[in-house]
Amino acid sequence: MIPILGLVAGIVLGVLLPYDIPYQYHSYVAVAILAALDSVFGGAAASLQGKFNLKIFISGFFGNALIAAALAYIGDQLGIEIYLAAIFAFGNRIFLNFAVIRRHWLKKLTKDDKVV
């Protein structure tokens, strides 16, 4: 509940605030968002399994976002699209974590052990 409330509050705040990130940084921001989303899905999966750790979540959330953005920046400077690696890695993990979440809920709803 808290995450959804926070997300909604953030989106509203972002729409209302007159602040913009310069367009030339849009690819770094996008990659950072992807990394943060990865942490969110990871956190959700972990909390369903009862393994959620706030410290790991925070460090992953900010650390992954920063590293992804930094990699994208370095890639731009080197003329190679390293951000694709970040997209692939985080995208892959998002789907994996989503699979964990999916199985957890299906198991809970159908009470069918064969799903796992």
């Binding site: 926070g6 997300l7 367009y23 943060a36």
Partner: protein, 248 residues
Amino acid sequence: MSAAYKKIVLFVMFVLLGLIVSIQVKVIINEREKVSAKNLDSNQLVEQIEELQAQNEILEVEIQKALKEREELTLSVISDQASYELETKYNQLNTVKLQAGLTGVTGPGVIIRLDDAAALRQITNASILIIHDSDIMALLNDLKAAGAQAISINGERIVAMSEQLCAGPTIRINRNRYTVPFEIIALGDPDLLNKALQSSERLAYMTRDRIVVNIRTSRSIYVPGLNTANIKLGTLMSNLEVLDSDIR
């Protein structure tokens, strides 16, 4: 770490995520709009306008050439036939042309340059900084009252049917559009015209509003004849019933 503390941290982090996502989406949407506006490509439109203007100029020269040729042909026909009647008619035609403002004329007069006031002042009503069609009309009337014989604005001869119509940021004269600065040339007694301008109520208001007004007199100025290319005089004349054909 207490549970409440954890909740606050979690909340703040998701606020951050939502914030950055919505700002990113906003930036991307803005950029897309900019790109689609760029696709209109104002450069291409400017090029088209310039091309058409160049074409117009070429055609204008051709028209002038053709008119001159017609004039020469008329003269040669008259001299060939050596007819007194034809010569009288030709002279009459020239008089009418002069009176109607169809011919270019040279003479003494005044040149009035008008430009919009510089928008330096903080002003609530910017309209008074701009030259309006009514300003031009009032000035023309003042000049006519002072006995102006021939008037042109930006090289556009003013005749009985000339309009001075406000068309957005431009003024339409003889179906052509003109922007500031306006140069009004009025032929007549320079002293009389000058005095009329000095005592013109409208001009006084315009100078008060700091519209740029620059008047000078000249011994000899050229005022072009009416360019009839844009005006369908022929159709107008053919639909009018002539009641009194005598030219006074």
